[in-house]
Subunit: 229 residues, 2 copies
DNA sequence: CGAGCGATTGAAAAGACTCAACCACCGTGG
DNA sequence: CCACGGTGGTTGAGTCTTTTCAATCGCTCG
């Protein structure tokens, strides 16, 4: 469990680092990173950055989860991705040279380090492994989003929800899924009421169990079947 | 108009180059590129690559249009992007090290150059301007796809079609839009019949005019209004 | 001239959304 | 300690968009 307050993180001992784009850093690189980062505590529902603002650096999640979303016309959120520990958030707009088209907000209490834009770009320029990692990451996400678009266009809400639950099960790594129904609906791309009705169906089919707002996955394979995969 | 046969393209005189990621190449770089590329003619509806295959290089469009798409369960295509002259296609999977998740097929007769994987990666490794251009491109597309996802999730088919027509008007640069109704439906993310009915509505509202399969945009601003932008 | 594909139309059915009301839980202030 | 207010969750009913299925049309190509 997360400590309910600020915690100083040292890159050399950061548990999230090995899974991150910095995973390959050697000792010197790690201490350089350590010197250039600041460490911050975020409360639940606190924004890291909002749409339209200019990127000032990147965020490296040490602990906690962050939603990445855009807003449609009426301000309705569409969640594109949920980032967890080890993920680096906010670097995409730095390369495009444009303002953020997406926003990022914490879903729970988080410890997140910040690396200044210039420092980060220096690392990218001088470290080929990091650079290749970033390009690989960008490319993979591009492919993921193509699949996301196809799912949105061709699958029913029921199928998309089944798929989303299986995906969230991976993101929550054994912990129970803990999102508001509204966030979940904004991830699946549906109305909150529809989402609730479908969750009940899934409960009736013994695919999931709900514990207040938390969702336990009982039959992941069943969900993936239902999702048509 | 495009010549109905193979045409040899020289990078130094290629009209599409200035708009491409190679736009910044100096004389030496351009002739290096020229030596490493082959030039090919494609008929209409000919694949450049298919899902699941491993990338062997990149395709640089000299003339013509290419659809980039994924397939859903029943094999139904979802068009993610339509690439035109000057665009480089197929490099995303090269960085991810995975097989293509998307496929690319010509929409009309095309002249397209091919650059071998190793040669291309060499250029990327040694040319910082090219590399930054690619990273910018990848990042921009990532943002575009976030918007695409949001549109799919939150807009009605009518709104999406209006938006798609305005977008296609830019892609076809003054020429009339020339796609099968099925391709257009697969771009908008709807059934062919629905698309046809909506096109008729738009015709009745004097937003567009149809000439056989070709579509002429009469009121682009009206379309964008309708799309809710 | 006939086959076949793409375009179009009609009618019925289904999926999803909206709106409205109500419930349940929780922290706060009196 | 308890009533209050607010947020998030749930349910019901009616409506509307969109899909599906079926049939027809029109044009091009061999």
């Amino acid at each position: 469990m997360l400590e309910k307050s600020h915690k100083h993180v040292t890159c050399a001992t950061c548990g999230a680092k090995k899974d991150s784009l910095f995973g390959s850093f050697c000792g010197a690189e790690t201490s350089n990173l350590d010197e250039h980062k600041t460490c911050n505590y975020y409360k639940k529902n606190q924004p890291l950055f909002i749409e339209g603002s200019l990127p000032r650096g990147v965020f490296c999640i040490n602990e906690g989860k962050v939603k990445i979303f855009t807003r449609g016309e009426e301000g309705k959120e569409q969640i594109i991705h949920i980032a967890k520990q080890g993920e680096i958030v906010g670097f995409r707009a730095m390369f495009s040279g444009e303002a953020y088209k997406v926003a990022a907000t914490t879903l729970e209490e988080c410890n997140i380090c910040f690396i200044n834009k210039t420092d980060f770009l220096d690392m990218v320029d001088t470290n080929q492994v990091l650079r290749n990692g970033i390009m690989r990451e960008l490319s993979k996400e591009l492919a993921d989003r193509a699949t996301f678009i196809t799912n949105m266009a061709q699958k029913s809400v029921r199928e998309r929800l089944a798929f989303a639950l299986a995906m969230l099960d991976d993101i929550y790594e054994g912990e129970m899924i803990n999102l508001t129904r509204e966030d979940m609906a904004n991830f699946v791309g549906t109305a909150t009421e529809t989402l609730i009705r479908l969750l009940k169906d899934f409960k009736d089919d013994n695919l999931i169990e709900t514990h207040a707002r938390k969702i336990e996955i009982l039959d992941k394979k069943g969900l993936l079947d239902l999702a048509g995969l």
